[in-house]
Amino acid sequence: MIDAPSSTWFTVSPHWGWYIVFYFFIGGLAGGCYFLAALIDHFGRPQDRPLARLGYYVAFPCVLLSGLLLTIDLSRPLRFWHMLIERNTFEPMFKPWSPMSFGSWALLVFGFFSFISFMAALAEEDHLRWPALYRLRWPAFRVVRSGRITSIIVAVLGGIAGLFIAGYTGVLLAVTNRPIWSDTPLLGMLFIVSAASTSAALLMLLAQRYGWRGLPGVAALERMDGLVLVLELVVLVAVMVSLGPALRGWLNVWGLLLAIVILVGMIAPLVLSWRHRRLPHANLATMATLVLLGGFLLRVVVIFSSEVI
């Protein structure tokens, strides 16, 4: 302790383990996929509609799973509602300066929007016969002029909530006193960029599986993933620089795993995408799988490298 690189080395671990790792990854996918779906809805071509629906189909189950993971991670899971309602007064429990409190409400809000968009996507494919739902998807059906404003509100607010869910987890870690987590303010930025790259990868992988490789939206996702992976590398280097002496926390087996994440989950997919203007089928699947694996392992490294100190 005498040679500790930072005062954060004097704290103890909160025992956040695999449930939290999976939540960070799946929550990131939920937020990222919703954001991408809203983006495709607005800027994609009409034939990209199935790709946007896919984003909504992924987002809502991932939000449900996220809530479940967070609940079972509590030592007293039946008290999960204490996050939202004050136990003694039954008034809303909201502390905007506490990322966990803010995040609990954000998850609820995002769950609401992702549910609406999920149902609207089902209605669009005639799995649900409820015409009013058409109005809740941007740009809705062009014939349904009356629902346009509602659908814009849903997509914009849902997209913002999705990005929030993808990024606030990094701020949550920073607003502690634990080694590495609170030694840099950049983890939120890293997580939001990583959520974008993993979400684009997942949508590409699923699109290929459904035979939608020719959609312009998939080509756009490919290009976006390349850009975001470069961003992710830059942000990760910035994280390391900002850690300063606390970087010592990564001079161990976790640092080795991080190096593997950089090589396999970031550089290798970038090389694959640079070698081909449009990736061949096999390479697209490989690239997407590597990005997803890298995104997951990145969260493993961030969580456990601090937990072991």
Partner: protein, 267 residues
């Protein structure tokens, strides 16, 4: 509100008897470690090792010996929650389970805590941990129940050397300052107070007289509030969101057209 109350711990008179640990365990009915199994640390006379959810007082044994073991000294310190005026645990607790009492102390309400463990990560001193029996985060309450009934906390009451002193913060600070001066006068120039003024987290309502660097006692030299990262962390995250949004806009606008131009897709 009553006047702020707290502890002043003079580590120079602690004899490591652990009476405070026992008194705390007894009064607060804290469970034994490992179901009562006899567990030894193996490398120290101290078998408690650290503060946690079932050890709200811990007497630290710092053994400073030379290589030849011909020279050495023991530093003993009864550690406890600092009941910070600016408390990181209270700040982040999402359920409102952690409260500030009328005595300016910090208490976790066990019937409200749901075991999210955010407070454990937020505490700059590593004081809080889980109580496996209650399934909630726990720490010293500064014997809130005893204080409400006009009694002194169990640990300071049990301390045989007055290493742990209880009282109003203003009175304790004055007493501690006098003791530092006394020690300086007799040649112990290393004596100083840790956390006795507002510079450290607005003041620690449990502060210490130490004779070595804080790190030697396992105390952070520069404890900070977790919220120091809230604004910069949020700003950088928003920047990240903007970068992702721009990357998305750039990719979708260009690629959509390119795909059509190359004839790969029909508009």
């Amino acid at each position: 509100m009553a006047e702020p109350m707290g502890f002043y711990t003079d580590t120079t008179v602690c004899i490591g008897c652990k009476a405070c640990e026992v008194a705390c365990k007894e009064w607060n009915q804290l469970p034994s470690t490992a179901g009562g199994a006899n567990t030894m640390s193996g490398d120290s006379y101290d078998n408690t090792r650290r503060l946690d959810g079932i050890h709200w007082r811990h007497v630290k044994f710092i053994e400073q010996f030379s290589e030849t073991r011909q020279d050495g000294r023991w530093l003993l310190m009864s550690d406890v929650c600092k009941h910070c005026v600016q408390a990181g645990c209270l700040e982040v607790c999402p359920t409102g389970a952690i409260i500030r009492t009328e005595f300016d102390t910090v208490v976790i309400q066990s019937n409200t805590c749901n075991g999210c463990r955010d407070c454990i990560a937020a505490c700059p001193f590593g004081v809080i941990d889980m109580n496996p029996v209650s399934g909630t985060a726990q720490k010293c309450t500064l014997c809130y129940d005893r204080l409400q009934n006009g009694m002194e906390p169990a640990c300071s009451k049990a301390c045989p050397t007055d290493s742990i002193q209880f009282g109003t913060i203003s009175e304790l600070r004055a007493r501690a300052q006098k003791r530092v001066e006394q020690l300086h006068d007799v040649g112990e120039k290393r004596a100083y107070l840790y956390g006795a003024d507002e510079k450290m987290l607005g003041g620690l309502n449990s502060f210490y007289l130490l004779v070595d660097k804080p790190e030697v006692y396992g105390l952070p030299p520069d404890p900070k509030m977790p919220s120091r990262n809230l604004l910069p962390g949020s700003v950088y995250t928003v920047l990240g969101a903007i970068m992702v949004g721009l990357a998305g806009l750039f990719s979708f606008r260009d690629r959509g057209r390119e795909g059509i131009e190359r004839g790969e897709v029909r508009p």
